[in-house]
């Protein structure tokens, strides 16, 4: 399978990365090289094979329901590019 330029742009939109036409063309070339490389997986017979869902053979450990965290709004917003009164600020979102 190979991707066309519109697909590259659509995927970039999904990933929220701005790409201009030149960049899209370069990316199209690169992505097709990679997609060409992974094509060989189609040779593998995966009939009745279960997908690997985790790399370790243990079941999920669970936490008890206690409040152990929070009350550190300072730490939470310490690195924020813009904040006010412990809120993060972003360009206005129109619903």
């Amino acid at each position: 399978m190979s991707v066309d330029i519109d697909t590259v742009k659509r995927v970039a939109k999904l990933a929220h990365i701005a790409v201009d036409d030149d960049r899209a063309a370069q990316l199209q070339h690169d992505l097709n090289a990679i997609l060409g490389f992974v094509e060989q997986l189609n040779e593998v017979d995966v009939e009745n094979v279960l997908p690997m869902t985790s790399a370790v053979d243990i079941t999920a450990r669970q936490r008890t329901d206690v409040v152990t965290d929070g009350n550190k709004a300072d730490d939470i917003i310490a690195n924020a590019p813009a904040s006010e009164d412990n809120y993060f600020m972003v360009p206005k979102v129109l619903e």
């Binding site: 079941t59 409040v67 009350n71 709004a73 939470i76 809120y87 979102v93």
Partner: protein, 501 residues
């Protein structure tokens, strides 16, 4: 989640909506997001408390700081299983958490951890009761549940604090939600309202969600489509984020008619997300189509599959409280209440508990009458919940006992109730102290009857011709005895003395 479309209902004309070109049937499916009752969040140790200072109930995990990892809260898992059991649903011993990828400022990870392919709870049932109709009858309808899954809530963006900026608070981010997806089994706004009400009752009974819709603890996405009765399913629109049962009803009514108008005009319905404007009573389109999402679900590699045993489920099932359907069956079947009275008792767990306390060892019907007709009415009048009632179950019980023994009449009982409401105290003691006891001594009653007859010889004469006048005499005797005479005894004596057979 889009539920699978299977028609389980037989079209019934009484539910049809009349259009200009004939009848239409509305098809409704609901997705209810119910906030799980837990102290800490689904994947972090931050508090779930409502109304905290901005970003104070936030952990590094909730803020999606680099390198942070989710660890699941066992209580949220248990709550989801309990809710599933409450819907007689299939509990999946193995379920998987997936990432739903999209960008939004109040979604710090850039994905919501949810369950897509393998939810924790599979198919179940919610029985709803629609009515009463003009004859006081209820209609029982079984609504299918497609699934219930656990997922993270998002944060909150505020848009009115600043001219060009939105403010983001992550306190709600990561709180556990149960998304309950119904099958498209509802055929009227009343059914949809009844379903949400019933679901809310169930989770409240179970203690798995507080059901406080005004605080956003339950939010409903409503899928509405219309079709010719029994025909093919139409294209649906989703009305997002409703948090009032009344508005859900209004939105469905509006949306169904909007769709019918378009179709009757030869148009077609666009599958889209809409919002309900409660002020205008209308729904409006929310997203443009070019913004169509591609959520790229895949199993969250930070989380191992959630696996538990049947013993674990059985253990939770053992501790489940008695649920509304079972209680209704008991109240109607064993106690002999009407479906209507039972529905009132069952509407809240606190009322059931109150009823059970009163009815223990007593006449259940009488207990129910007292609670429904006197207590609930009074509570409603003064806007108090049953938990905060100044009259406690043993006091109502005491009143019921006094009536049952014949110590007081129904009328006196009402006065007694008022006294206890205002002043408290033991019903029997009050009756004793204030001389409210019913007079059952036949001699005393006889004297009173004789007195009244003697004072009204003309009326006594007439009564022989017009037996209805007996009632007047009974009233006079009751008055003369300050209401304390046993009404049955008075009735009998009056008739006897007047010579009415």
């Amino acid at each position: 989640m889009t539920p699978v479309l299977v028609d389980t209902r037989t079209p019934e004309p009484k539910r049809f909506i009349a259009g200009a070109t004939g009848d239409w049937e509305v098809i409704i499916g609901l997705e209810v997001h119910a906030q799980v009752t837990s102290k800490a969040k689904l994947f972090s140790g931050a508090s779930t408390k409502f109304g905290a200072e901005a970003n104070s109930n936030v952990s590094l995990v909730d803020a999606a700081m680099p390198g942070m990892l989710p660890v699941i809260n066992e209580e949220c898992v248990a709550q989801a299983v309990r809710t599933g059991l409450g819907m007689k649903a299939k509990i999946n011993l193995r379920s998987v958490f997936d990432r739903k990828n999209y960008f939004y400022p109040d979604l710090p990870q850039g994905y919501q951890i949810s369950q897509f392919k393998d939810p924790i709870v599979g198919e179940g049932i919610v029985n709803i009761s629609v009515g009463p109709d003009k004859k006081g009858n209820f209609e029982e309808v079984e609504i299918g549940v497609e699934r219930l899954h656990l997922e993270q809530d998002a944060g909150k963006s505020m848009h009115d604090q600043h001219p060009t900026m939105s403010f983001v608070d992550l306190n709600r981010t990561g709180i556990a939600l149960m998304e309950v997806v119904s099958k498209p089994d509802m055929r009227s706004s009343d059914e949809a309202k009844a379903y949400v009400t019933k679901l809310r009752t169930i989770v409240r009974y179970l203690g798995t969600c507080d059901g406080n819709m005004d605080q956003g603890s339950m939010r409903v996405d409503v899928n509405v489509s219309v079709r010719r009765p029994g025909g093919e399913f139409g294209t649906r629109c989703e009305i997002k984020n409703m948090n009032s049962i009344r508005f859900i009803g209004q939105a469905i009514e509006y949306e169904a008619r909007r769709q019918i108008a378009i179709l009757e005009d030869g148009g077609k319905i666009d599958q889209e997300t809409r919002l309900f404007d409660p002020v205008k009573g209308e729904t409006r389109s929310m997203r443009s189509k070019e913004d169509a999402h591609d959520y790229r679900y895949f199993p969250d590699p930070d989380l191992l599959p959630l696996v538990f045993t049947q013993e674990y489920v059985d253990e939770l099932a053992k501790d489940l409280p008695e649920l509304p359907d079972e209680i209704t069956a008991r109240l109607v079947g064993d106690v002999g209440l009407s479906a209507y009275d039972a529905s009132i008792i069952v509407s809240e767990k606190a009322i059931v508990d109150y009823f059970d306390a009163v009815a223990k060892g007593r006449d259940g019907k009488l207990a129910a009458n007292w609670i429904i007709n006197n207590l609930l009415g009074k509570l409603n009048e003064v806007s108090t919940t049953i938990d905060a009632s100044p009259v406690k179950p043993d006091q109502i019980g005491g009143i019921v006992d006094l009536i049952k023994e014949g110590t007081i009449s129904g009328k006196i009982a009402k006065d007694l109730f008022e006294i206890i409401w205002e002043e408290g105290g033991d019903p029997a003691a009050i009756v004793e102290e204030r001389g409210m006891k019913q007079v059952t001594d036949t001699g005393a009653i006889e004297a009173a009857v004789d007195e009244v007859i003697a004072a009204n010889p003309d009326k006594a004469q007439q009564a022989v011709e017009k037996p209805n006048l007996a009632g007047w005499f009974v009233g006079q005797v009751m008055k003369a005895t300050g209401g304390k005479a046993n009404p049955q005894a008075v009735q009998a004596l009056v008739r006897q003395k007047l010579g009415i057979e």
